[in-house]
């Protein structure tokens, strides 16, 4: 393999494999540089047309050389121009689609928040000058740059600053920043999104050995300086996709930064002076410059200057010429270039065609920030216009293209930004660079031709000028329509290089000015970002916090299976060896109905409501009256939203005249507290009430079953537990198992039952004491659900769905008729909420007592199902096997259900609808005889 490495370039050798062949490169190479150094020109084959494609650019603007990383871990679609070479890299060229790994990504990803006074994006000459000037004021400065090394274009151009090489100068600037304690430099960090209020996001590709592979920076900046440079612009001409066609600046970068020659004999095709610098460097490096085709007819001054001295002495400059064709070698790469102009048409042998159609300032972040763009008629480019945020643009990113100009602009902008952030910048010298004067650039987007089928405007999507013209011919006028019709600009590079050119072609085809037509929208991210980087650490168990009670360890050690309820892990049931779920739950149910069971109820929300107006406050929020509750007593309560639909339920206990403890459902605890706070703060600020979440302060053990009194008596000898001393719906302070506790006599199963609340730290001791009595069976949420359903108690969120009123649940008794108002009351009087055929909560008994109806099954009136659509009468909300009833049963919301009690309805389950009987929703102990044990 031919080496295209310049003589004298040396370094650590790295081995890599590309498209199945082994190569060597040098540390510091990109994959693209290493491929070019090995003489690999056609690096990919395009997806649809199968045309060979080469390397077009030298950094993130690359539109062509996409690769799939195979080893060390598969990663789809990266640009060969940005992949830093490493030993053992295995990659293949990608003409079409990338491929995802079929195994988990072992890497870690991270995120970090940062605040600064001045964020400088881009560490080129302007950015470095801006950052050092701003940092000199003592301001907190972050300088982020997407390259591994600072300097921007300086290593590409080899220009000198302050009399030293550009790279040396850049290193000096970094050293200066390193001495500023408030300055932070982030290399390999691409700022890819510019959001509201100067919130910018960046991704840092971290070096090997770092704690994470990639890290997202979330930066809030007082001021932002965008020094993002400019991209050289391609030109649309026939065959402009051939390997060997390359941006002039890119070829210069390969020669100067990497010591790699992209060809042996080059033709230069340019609209301005910049390409001459590239040609001069390449000529000095040993590339033969066959000719320069300069579209400007008035470029004679240059012509004469070139003839006199320097590496380009004697080079033929063809003014007023354009490239009209590219001849190809057997591998499809450039073999000759046809130029045409006043001198006629000539075919020139060459393996490299350097293109320079001018420069496009990199305005992506500025545009994302909301800033307006304007078309500059002298620069022939879109440049930043009016800003929408606290941002300034420096250097080439706003069309300042000379090194001296960029340095000057950088210092001025950095100074301005720091001062706008409230800092004083000491006088700061402007680094010195050679001042050059340039001729005005020409403007050429498109080389006219009869046939535009190989004038490409998007290399990945294989869109040509002909395609664009088909779109405009179909009647499309908006550049957005043309983009969507042709797919130009939608590929991996998102039109970084060719987007403006595409706009120009549309403008040309429709006879409007490009400045009036505009561009497609610049959207985040500026460069692709991996999903994994954005997900960061919020994966697996950290995706959402896991909440566990103080008894969790015991449950896990005793074989409990868990149910996710909101963020909580709740014991679902406790299977014994050999038991399936059904057996275990039936056993737990029987234990509670016949003996005693204990459940961890700690996850129920608990809100301490106190203050002189607490009673009044609760009266307004609950449907029933709370102010009449006696201290020491407990009342069940329901809350509705203002629309009258049930929102939550729970018990309220009065601890003192001015203090209540309200419990909520597990999943709604935060929502109920927020609800209370919202009403208090925004509607009733005159009420003197304070609400505090105390959910996690308490461990709660529900002790239920006919033997629960005996168990409690044993554990709390000081507590009078007889029904008269400790009646239903009251609470007592007591010592239980030697632990200070608040014991409530409430029941969610219909059995004699208690809830014992202790400090969360003592929860495990209490639980072990309760279970340690030997007569108490631990039970989980499933058993709790069965027991409460037998009693017809609804679970909010299971038997309700946000469309159910208390009356629908058969809970008229919980809705106060005395109160003038409570939240939701007015809605109950609306036409729809007072309809008689609303869905009521009822019980269902399948006629086959062994048939368990699926929860969610629907009810119809007829035993034969007509053709759809069939209007359902309702649906099954809860369905269980009941140990107590010795059969299956269900709860359902059924239209006019209370009037249907005793009726037979049908549940379609696939075959013939199965018959069920509608019953009252309380199926077990309707008289409430078991409550007192």
């Amino acid at each position: 393999m031919t080496s295209r490495r310049r003589e004298g370039v040396a370094g650590e050798t790295l081995r890599f494999r590309y498209d199945g062949r082994d190569y060597e490169g040098l540390r510091g190479d990109t994959l693209a540089a290493a491929l070019l150094a090995n003489g690999v020109r056609a690096v990919v084959r395009s997806g649809g047309l199968g045309r060979p494609r080469g390397i077009y650019a030298s950094w993130t603007e690359e539109p062509n050389a996409l690769v799939q990383i195979e080893e060390p871990f598969p990663e789809p679609m990266l640009q060969a121009t940005t992949v830093e070479l490493y030993d053992g890299l295995v990659a293949t060229g990608l003409g079409g689609r990338g491929r995802l790994a079929d195994r988990p990504d072992p890497a870690r990803y991270d995120a970090v928040h940062a605040h600064c006074d001045v964020l400088v994006v881009g560490a080129g000459p302007a950015g470095l000058a801006a950052a050092t000037a701003a940092a000199a004021s003592g301001a907190r400065v972050i300088l982020a740059d997407d390259r591994p090394a600072a300097g921007g274009c300086l290593p590409d151009t080899g220009e000198t600053v302050d009399g030293v090489s550009g790279t040396t100068w850049a290193a000096g600037m970094l050293a200066e920043l390193a001495g500023r304690p408030e300055a932070r430099v982030l290399p390999r960090t691409t700022v890819f999104g510019y959001y509201d209020d100067n919130y910018l996001v960046a991704v840092e590709r971290r070096e090997e050995g770092a704690a994470s592979r990639e890290r997202i920076w979330r930066i809030r900046a007082r001021r932002v300086v965008l020094a993002t440079g400019a991209h050289e612009r391609p030109i649309a001409f026939a065959g402009n996709d051939r390997p060997g066609v390359m941006l002039a600046g890119a070829a210069r970068a390969y020669a100067n930064r990497y010591g790699v020659l992209a060809g042996r004999r080059a033709v230069v095709f340019t609209t301005g002076d910049g390409a001459y610098d590239a040609a001069r460097d390449l000529a000095a490096a040993g590339v033969e410059i066959a000719a320069v085709a300069d579209v400007r007819r008035d470029a004679h001054a240059l012509d004469e200057a070139l003839a006199v001295a320097g590496p380009l002495a004697g080079t033929e400059v063809l003014t007023g010429h354009v490239v009209t064709g590219v001849g190809s070698a057997p591998d499809g790469s450039v073999a000759s270039v046809t130029v045409s102009g006043p001198s006629g048409e000539r075919e020139i042998e060459a393996d490299l065609l350097l293109v320079s159609g001018g420069w496009n300032p990199v305005v992506h972040l500025f545009s994302q920030s909301g800033g307006a763009l304007r078309f500059d008629e002298e620069l022939h480019a879109f440049v930043p216009g009016e800003a929408a945020q606290a941002v300034e643009v420096a250097g080439a990113a706003r069309g300042v293209y000379t090194l001296a100009g960029c340095l000057e602009d950088g210092v001025a902008t950095g100074t301005r930004a720091a001062e706008a952030a409230g800092f004083r910048v000491p006088p700061h010298p402007v680094p010195a660079a050679e001042r050059v004067t340039a001729l005005p650039s020409g403007r050429l987007w498109l080389v006219p031709a009869d046939d535009y089928e190989t004038h490409f405007v998007d290399l990945q999507r294989e869109v040509t000028v002909a395609d664009v013209m088909r779109a405009t011919g179909a009647g499309l006028r908006s550049v957005e329509h043309v983009k969507r019709y042709t797919t130009a600009g939608t590929a991996h590079d998102q039109g970084k290089l060719f987007g403006v050119l595409t706009s120009a072609v549309v403008a040309h085809a429709t006879g409007v000015e490009i400045g009036d037509l505009g561009t497609t929208t610049f959207r985040a991210p500026y460069a692709p970002v991996s999903f994994a980087a954005l997900a960061g650490r919020d994966r697996g168990m950290l995706h959402d916090p896991v909440r566990v009670t103080s008894l969790h360890g015991w449950h896990a050690a005793h074989g409990a299976l868990f149910e996710n309820v909101g963020q909580w892990k709740r014991p679902w049931y406790y299977p014994r060896p050999g038991e399936d779920m059904e057996t275990a739950v039936l056993r737990e149910c029987r234990a509670v109905r016949e003996g005693a069971g204990a459940m961890d109820a700690s996850t129920l929300g608990k809100i301490d409501v106190q203050g002189p107006d607490a009673a009044e406050f609760l009266d307004r929020l609950y449907t029933n009256m709370m102010s009449t509750l006696k201290v020491g007593a407990i009342r069940y309560g329901v809350m509705c939203r203002a629309d009258g639909m049930v929102f939550d339920d729970g018990t309220v206990m009065r601890l003192a005249e001015d203090r209540f403890l309200a419990t909520t459902t597990t999943g709604n605890a935060a929502a109920v507290l927020d609800w209370m706070e919202e009403w208090l703060q925004t509607e009733w600020p005159s009420l003197r009430v304070y609400c505090t979440s105390v959910t996690e302060h308490w461990a709660t053990v529900a002790l239920a079953g006919p033997r629960s009194r005996e168990v409690l008596a044993g554990l709390a000898p000081g507590l009078a537990v007889d029904a008269a001393s400790f009646p239903f719906m009251t609470w007592r302070d007591a010592e239980v198992a030697g632990i200070p506790a608040r014991v409530c006599r409430i029941s969610f199963s219909g059995e004699l039952a208690y809830e014992i609340n202790v400090n969360a730290w003592d929860g495990l001791a209490l639980w072990e004491a309760v279970v340690g009595t030997g007569v108490v069976t631990p039970y989980g949420t499933e058993t709790m659900h069965v027991l409460r359903a037998e009693k017809g108690y609804p679970i909010i969120g299971q038997d309700t769905d946000g469309t159910v009123t208390p009356a629908d649940l058969g809970m008229d008794w919980v809705v106060s008729k005395k109160k003038a108002d409570f939240v939701g009351k007015r809605s109950h009087a609306r036409a729809d909420t007072s309809r008689p055929d609303r869905k009521h909560l009822v019980g269902l008994l399948p006629e086959d007592p062994g048939l368990l109806l699926p929860e969610g099954a629907h009810l119809v009136a007829t035993s034969r199902l007509p053709e759809p659509p069939v209007r359902a009468l309702g649906h099954v909300t809860s369905s269980y096997r009941s140990a107590a009833l010795g059969r299956t049963f269900a709860l359902a919301l059924v239209s006019g259900g209370r009037e249907r009690i005793g009726e037979r309805l049908y549940v379609p389950l696939g075959g013939d609808p199965v018959p069920v009987t509608v019953t009252h929703h309380v199926l077990y102990d309707p008289e409430g005889a078991r409550r007192d044990g």
Binding site: D196, D197, A388, A642, D674, E683, D821, R826, S827, A829
Partner: protein
């Protein structure tokens, strides 16, 4: 990510806040006295302007206070407005 000026805590990231929609929609003094139409207006109808909008925020991950701000829904820019 908006930077929301909490009157109690200062400017904080949007992610710390809960949005409360249009401000200054008072709970009716006597809901029972309202017609269904009037009650529906209170329940469901809120301003939705493209432009200045007085809106409620709650600093749920901070001081947990509700407060009112005016923001331009066409530009995203907050004006300062005192009071809860």
């Amino acid at each position: 990510m908006l930077l929301i000026p909490c009157p109690w805590c200062g400017p904080r990231d949007e992610a710390e806040f809960h949005y409360g929609g249009q401000a200054h929609v008072a709970y009716p003094a006597d809901p029972a006295a309202l017609s269904d139409e009037e009650w529906a207006r209170y329940l469901f109808f809120r301003d939705n302007p493209k432009g200045r909008f007085a809106e409620r925020w709650s600093h749920t991950a901070g001081c947990r206070r509700w407060f009112t701000l005016t923001r331009d829904t066409a530009t995203g820019v907050f004006e300062s407005e005192a009071g809860a």
